[in-house]
């Protein structure tokens, strides 16, 4: 199995505070990683670094075999705490715009269809005309996931996709994610609801104070040590 993401000696400082303190590790392709850890452990910072959104203080990231993250960002899906959606437009309008950014129609699929497909995949209704700003929190969260899935990315970076989502839908999301994983995607899920991913995630990565402290495929084992 080849490594999809290789991270070496990642350090990220905000002024005098170091949010990442030397993270070095490898992530294999086609697996589902759950990233766990206390509040402020640096999970979001790590994800933003992988997405190429934050300049590093030190260290390097190699993704899909290249260190030039700009060149592979079309292969990346990123979902953050904020929705990354325009509050004043409806879900479809939002996705249609992002579809243009990823030039999806050039890949042979019709924009309109693709957008409707992903919206349906997250169990929302593509014909909803309400602007996203008027969605409930959980609906917004799902639309945000739809946006991340839009370009059919090889690597998915999801920051707490299940927060504010009801339990049943969260389970459906997990099914969706395992399906994607089985289709060969590499998926990173930051979450505090580790139990949801039990049995679904291939590996649980624990972070603490800006470092990765353990990696294991057995959730039960780690929760004990915690």
């Amino acid at each position: 199995m080849s490594a999809a993401v290789i991270v070496t000696d990642l350090v990220k400082q905000f002024g005098r505070f170091a949010a990442l303190r030397g993270v070095s590790t490898e992530f294999a392709a086609g697996r589902l990683y759950a990233i766990l850890g206390d509040n402020g452990a640096g999970k979001t910072t790590l994800l933003r670094a992988l997405a190429g959104l934050t300049p590093l203080t030190r260290g390097s990231i190699s993704m899909l075999g290249t260190t030039d993250l700009r060149s592979v960002c079309g292969q990346l899906g990123y979902m953050a705490h904020p929705s990354l959606l325009y509050d004043e437009m409806s879900g479809m309008e939002n996705l249609r715009y992002f579809a243009r950014l990823y030039e999806i129609s050039d890949r042979g699929q019709n924009d309109e269809d693709r957008c409707a497909d992903v919206i349906r995949a997250v169990k929302l209704d593509p014909s909803l005309t309400r602007p996203v700003g008027q969605y409930s929190q959980g609906m917004r969260q799902r639309m945000s996931l739809a946006r991340a899935l839009l370009n059919d990315p090889k690597i998915l970076l999801l920051d707490e996709p299940f927060s504010n989502v009801d339990l049943r839908s969260a389970r459906e999301m997990v099914t969706l994610l395992t399906g994607l994983r089985d289709a060969g995607k590499t998926i990173f899920v930051v979450t505090h609801q580790a139990a949801l991913l039990e049995g679904a995630a291939d590996e649980f990565v624990w972070m603490e104070a800006g470092q990765i402290v353990s990696r294991t495929s057995d959730l039960a084992a780690t929760t004990e040590t915690k």
Binding site: V11, F14, G15, R16, F17, A18, D38, N39, E208, A209
Partner: protein
């Protein structure tokens, strides 16, 4: 290198006093303007020094944009700050001179306007650096420096038409200057340049120290044992 700094300091001190002697005593009194004209020996060298410093700022900014070299950034910061100081000296001595000679403090003349605009651009450069909340202040500052430098020729052409009251350039302008005045001017310029270099250097060292200090603090955080958790930091 450590030795060079005191040597430069002493040299500057000597040069400055000698230059002052030249300007105030040796140089002949101008016939029409009288002793006011002696401000010339501060007015012109400060302008030239400022121009040189701004030019260095531009080059350093370009270097930073290409190489992302922290030293280039510090050099740009320092030259902009010190350049603004010298530019201010020129902008203050000018009106002081203008008032008795022309009867007005200020006029929208080519050289005056150009200097003022330059001053404004580099003050805005400093303000940007102060107010930046980004981790990449150097980058933003370098970009602004490039914009400022591109603006200068345009300003120059845009005020080309302005009626000029200001004396023509000494160098290449065909004006004839008493050799003793020339001498005093050049000595003063040399002294000002040394002084500028000296201030830049100290400021540079200060900046290096400041950054080192920040880095040490962050490094200590890195070495901190994991048990003292981030959640309480």
């Amino acid at each position: 290198m450590k030795r060079a700094f005191p040597i430069l300091a002493v040299l500057t001190g000597v040069l400055l006093s000698y230059a002052m002697y030249q300007a105030l005593v040796v140089a002949p009194t101008e016939q029409t303007m009288g002793d006011v004209q002696r401000i010339f020996y501060y007015h012109v060298p400060s302008a030239w020094t400022a121009f040189i410093l701004f030019a260095i700022n531009f080059v350093a900014s370009i270097v930073y944009l290409i190489r992302r070299n922290a030293k280039a950034d510090m050099l740009a910061l320092v030259t902009a700050e010190v350049g603004v100081v010298f530019c201010t000296v020129n902008l203050v001595t000018g009106p002081i001179w203008a008032r008795p000679v022309w009867g007005i403090w200020w006029t929208w003349d080519l050289r005056l306007t150009l200097t003022l605009v330059l001053w404004l651009i580099y003050v805005s450069y400093i303000v940007l650096r102060r107010f930046s909340s980004s981790g990449q202040t150097p980058l933003l500052a370098a970009v602004l420096a490039v914009f400022g430098a591109l603006d200068v020729p345009l300003v120059y052409f845009s005020i080309w038409f302005f009626r000029t009251q200001h004396p023509q350039p000494v160098i290449g302008g065909g004006g004839s200057l008493d050799p003793r005045m020339w001498h005093a001017l050049l000595i003063n310029w040399l002294a000002f340049s040394c002084f500028g270099a000296l201030v830049c250097w100290s400021r540079y060292r200060l900046e290096v120290l400041r950054r080192d200090f920040d880095e040490t603090l962050a490094l200590e955080a890195l070495l901190e044992p994991r048990s003292s958790k981030a959640r309480s930091s």
